[in-house]
Amino acid sequence: MINYILNLLTLATIYSIAAASLNVLVGYAGIFSIAHAIFFGLGAYAGAQFALLIVPDVLLASLIGAVVSGALSLLLALPALRVRGEYFVAAGLGLQMVGITIFSEAHSLTGGHGGLVGIPPATLFGFDVSSPGAFLAVCLVALLLSLAVIQILMRSSFGRALMSIRDNESAAESFGKNVPLLKTLAMVVGCAIVGVAGTLFAFNLAFINVESFTLEQSILMLAMVVIGGVGTLSGPLIGAVFLLILPAILTFIPFIPPTEIGTVQQFIYGSLMAVLMIFKPSGIAGKTGGK
């Protein structure tokens, strides 16, 4: 039991990092990205290749994941500077679909559909940290660091500037905000952090392939942020834990014939998502009432 729980918690922690980083884009900067799984994937592939080829040090690999993902986020920054709202959603969709195809085709980097197998157990400064408990601890530290970074940035003038851009771009400009630059920076920060999450994910699963970086995954991350509460610190964590643990709990429902478990689970899962949005539109941690 304990390993299962540790494993779930590790995944929940990794997704919390991912959701928190997406919240930087969606909640603070008003950049509606539905291509976040691509950057998650970039981090995962970069970190995994580093571990496979050089050294499976989780810290170094995470840094590599962050750098690669952060650097390539400029791809998405381009349309973000040109369009907003639903147009940007569509741009993200385009990137997501093209990105997935590239992941499947770039065999030498990603292993194609077959993926990268046998990612070595994680080490940290030469110590093995691959046991479920130790790895959870590593992930928790990464989560705390990411949250600290996000919190410090978002409470600084940088965060306020992002929020002002989110609320009204032209007014932000007229108070001296360099909108394109700030948006790009937000994009880089958010994607670099999700790159770390991706690397941790690769270590955790020891195997990655495109199936983990699909549109569904992007939407799942988005759902975590929205269900938890957009623009709040705790929201993405609550959302991540909720959406990952819920299906796990549903598997404990007795009396469902094994062939129907999946269907029933998915039904409850989907309905809950809709119902939650109807009754808690600003998320579990979001402010309710008012306008």
Partner: protein
């Protein structure tokens, strides 16, 4: 000849895209609701038709049932999902996530009742024969073209001749003001969902005949509809339909130049390019930044 053949299959694919995209564009254009569950409506319509045929119903009746089910699904979603969310602080993404939840739930319901595999309605319409040398066409292409032109014409006529079209445009601009005009924004929203959902029915039926339909078919439909809506220009029904057609044709023609595994990605590459260089789409008004 390969080119002609690809063009023909592109048109057939494109027509299906055009119909679903027009439905999505109509709903999104009028209500600003990002109706992700449009794909679910498509699947419901397809299965309704399939089940009726299985029960031995005459096809026009099955078609009718399919229309009823799709429209009903659209209305239920509009009234019970979107309306309550929009009434409170319904941000773009709240609606998005709720609609996504609905899609999952619908998909699992269909799985539960109709199984998980792909179902196909057999029909001789799909058998291709050589029309001129090297060009194989199936009667369903003609049916698709005919049906789509008629249906599309009807919708356009309805929107233009009746004031409903005007009402829907007004709805997209300012639902609150519509009430001040003494009109009912709720009813107009439902109308948008009725027409938009009805538009997917022929596409769903044609798909269930020519390709087959399965519970998870909805997501592709939704993605292409969304892409076509943007490429066509938000708010333009004609734009979305033409863009759908265009994407279908490109998807087929493109394999003369790139490997087949890229053909689907090309649609989205085009979408990306449009957003970068012509965000207003083919027919849209210029985009406010």
């Amino acid at each position: 000849m390969l080119f002609l053949q690809l063009l023909a299959s592109g048109i057939q694919t494109g027509i299906l895209y055009a119909l679903t995209a027009a439905g999505f564009a109509l709903i999104f254009g009028a209500t600003k609701i990002f109706h992700v569950a449009h794909g679910a409506t498509f699947v419901i319509a397809g299965y309704a038709f399939y089940e009726c045929i299985q029960l031995g119903m005459w096809w026009p009746w099955a078609t009718l049932v399919s229309f009823v089910m799709a429209i009903l699904a659209g209305i239920l979603m509009a009234v019970f999902i979107y309306r309550p969310i929009q009434r409170s602080e319904g941000s773009f993404f709240t609606v998005f996530v709720a609609a996504f939840g609905v899609s999952i739930a619908v998909q699992s319901l269909i799985q539960y009742f109709f199984g998980r595999g792909s179902v196909t309605v057999s029909s001789s319409l799909t058998m291709a024969s050589e029309v001129i040398e090297g060009l194989y066409l199936a009667p369903i292409l003609a049916v698709a073209i005919g049906v789509s032109i008629v249906l599309f014409g009807l919708v356009v006529l309805f929107l233009e001749k009746k004031n409903a079209g005007l009402g829907l445009r007004a709805l997209s601009e300012n639902p609150g003001l519509l009430e001040a005009f003494g009109l009912n924004a709720k009813n107009l929203t439902v109308l948008a969902f009725v027409i938009g959902s009805a538009l997917v029915v022929p596409a769903a039926i044609l798909t269930s005949i020519s390709i087959g339909i399965q519970p998870s078919s909805g997501s592709k439909v939704m993605l292409i509809s969304l892409a076509a809506t943007i490429v066509g220009g938000i708010g333009s029904l004609k734009g979305a339909a033409l863009a759908g057609l265009f994407l279908g044709i490109i998807e087929n023609l493109v394999i003369t130049v790139v490997d087949t595994q890229w053909s689907e990605a090309v649609s989205f590459f085009i979408l990306f390019a449009f957003i970068m260089f012509r965000p207003s789409g083919l027919f849209g008004a210029s985009v406010k930044r």
